[in-house]
Amino acid sequence: MTPGVLCAIRGPIMLITLGVLLSIDHFGTVSFARTWPVLLIVFGIFKLAERSSVRSSQ
């Protein structure tokens, strides 16, 4: 994947993750207060993927 695509889908993916975590929270299984670090992880994965794809396209 090109860095452009990765960068463009980052926002939507983060949004979907947020939506899923909040849904889980509202259905009472695991609260958002506990699951929020997943957002950081997803963001970090994207940053990593961007780095490596920039490097490979160079």
């Binding site: 463009a8 993916i13 849904s23 506990r34 929020w36």
Partner: protein, 477 residues
């Protein structure tokens, strides 16, 4: 041409559909759905945007540098704020006051620790039992012994045993007061730190007890108590059986309120979902918003129901009433009966004295059944009106529709007239006045036949045994 996202137009369409749905079915508890399912909107939004970007990428168009614009993020933040406040206001799990975002592992992987609780106090035959506000379930049962006895357990969620022990010591279970008034106190508020405490109590009380209970989250089951029962809770399922006195229930949220066999008056207030009342000897007064299925059976005093969209007054109800979304079905009522509703199809059979129905949107179908027929006054704005009269009935009937067909197979003395877009059906054989009116809809008067059965609302007879206390739902956050 500048490429623009499909999300904004879709959002507009979605909002339009929602408002339309609200206008067509005012009874739909849209706010409740929103409070529960709003995170789905975020997911949908993200999926749409993702699909769009992948499509653009596949068709090799120029990609935006960012998937979501700043404006969109601002909108999302607003949506989250609205979602959370509605969620909290509607009483689904209070989210933030009890725990902020937990950092650094505290309460990240808590465990449950159980501690037994018990207490006993001798009382008079008819003490007042007060349960102070707590989180958890209580089952209260009346018995012959003149004492209040509590058994049960306390559950504490904590990271480690020592923290749970400390929380347990901070919240001693107390049973205080004298022989006339007993107070049950769980002291859950005294716990500092991030521990979630719930108490499960089985409380045995003397038969003559009067109960006053306050709860924050959890169910109340009360059986065989001849005094008054008063319950105030933020979120409770309430099941009462064989209560001798007055019943008062005030809930901010509830999944079910059920009362069977109450000798005194019943008074419900607040918000909730399902309501089931059966065999009530006192007057029933309900004022609040109940979004589920509402059922009444065998109520021997007047019933006053004052809801968000529906007002109902019945003098006496030997039969049953069932109100579900968009529907009102009742059979065997003693009038005067008065029903005002925004949007329900109304089916009523076997009623006496007088009946007044006013419906904004919805069909009305009446089968008076018994002779002499009741005086009727029916007004529908959008909806068909159909009345089946027994062949021997005496009445003075006027039925009009401003726009719609008129139909009668009753024969003499009724005759129909067309009049522009509408029409009327009239006739008198010297009996009670029957006045039927619709502004848009069909007007039908039929001769009742032996095949006409009374409407049977599908009232599921509640089981006569009280359900055991369910394990408390997970309330830890």
């Amino acid at each position: 041409m500048k490429r623009t996202s499909v999300v904004a137009p879709l959002l507009l369409i979605g909002v339009g559909v929602l408002f339309l749905a609200r206008n067509m079915y005012p009874d739909l508890a849209l706010i409740d759905y929103f409070a529960r399912y709003w995170p789905t909107l975020l997911i949908l939004w993200g999926v749409l945007r993702l699909a769009e970007i992948l499509f653009w990428a596949a068709t090799e168009k120029e990609l935006p540098s960012r998937g979501m614009s700043g404006g969109e993020w601002i909108l999302i933040v607003f949506l989250c704020m609205i979602g959370f406040s509605v969620h909290t206001v509607r009483g689904f799990e209070t989210w933030w006051p009890r725990s902020g975002i937990t950092m650094g592992g505290i309460d990240m992987f808590g465990e449950s620790f159980d501690y037994p609780i018990s207490g006993e106090k001798a009382t008079t035959k008819a003490p007042r039992v007060v349960i102070e506000s707590f989180r958890g379930n209580a089952r209260i049962t009346g018995g012959d012994a003149n004492r209040v006895k509590v058994t049960g357990h306390k559950t504490i969620r904590s990271m480690e045993q020592s923290g749970a022990d400390r929380a347990n010591n901070d919240s001693p279970f107390e049973i205080a007061g004298d022989t006339n008034e007993v107070t049950i106190r769980t002291n859950q508020d005294h716990i500092s730190g991030n521990h979630r405490v719930t108490d499960e109590m089985e409380i045995a009380v003397p038969l003559g007890a009067t109960i006053e209970a306050h709860g924050r989250y959890g169910d109340f089951d009360i059986t065989d108590v001849s005094g008054n029962v008063e319950i105030v809770s933020d979120n409770a399922g309430v099941r009462l059986q064989n209560i001798g006195g007055e019943v008062k229930i005030d809930t901010r949220k509830s999944d079910i309120i059920r009362a069977i066999n109450v000798k005194g008056p019943v008074d419900l207030k607040g918000h909730g979902a399902d309501v089931e009342l059966q065999d009530i000897d006192g007057q029933v007064t309900i004022a609040g918003t109940y979004s589920g299925v509402i059922q009444f059976r065998n109520i021997s005093k007047p019933l006053r129901f004052n809801g968000q969209q529906t007002d109902l007054n019945i003098e006496k109800l030997p039969g049953q009433v069932r109100m579900a979304l968009g529907d009102f079905t009742a059979t065997n009522l003693v009038g005067p009966v008065r029903l005002t509703t925004r949007s329900r199809d109304v089916h009523i059979s076997d009623f006496t004295n007088s009946l007044e129905v006013s419906v904004e949107r919805g069909d009305v179908e009446l089968r008076p059944g018994k002779l002499p027929v009741a005086k009727m006054d029916v007004h529908a704005r959008f909806g068909d009106v159909e009345v089946s009269l027994p062949p021997a009935a005496k009445f003075d009937l006027t039925g009009t529709t401003a726009r719609g067909e008129v139909y009668s197979d009753f024969g003499a003395p009724l005759h129909t007239d067309r009049n522009g877009n509408g029409g009327s059906v009239r006739g008198s054989s010297g009996g009670p006045v029957i006045n039927l009116q619709t502004e848009h809809g069909k007007m039908t008067v039929r001769k009742a036949t032996a095949d006409d059965k009374p409407f049977a609302p599908e009232v599921e007879a509640p089981s006569s045994t009280v359900t055991p206390v369910k394990p408390l739902q997970k309330v830890e956050q």
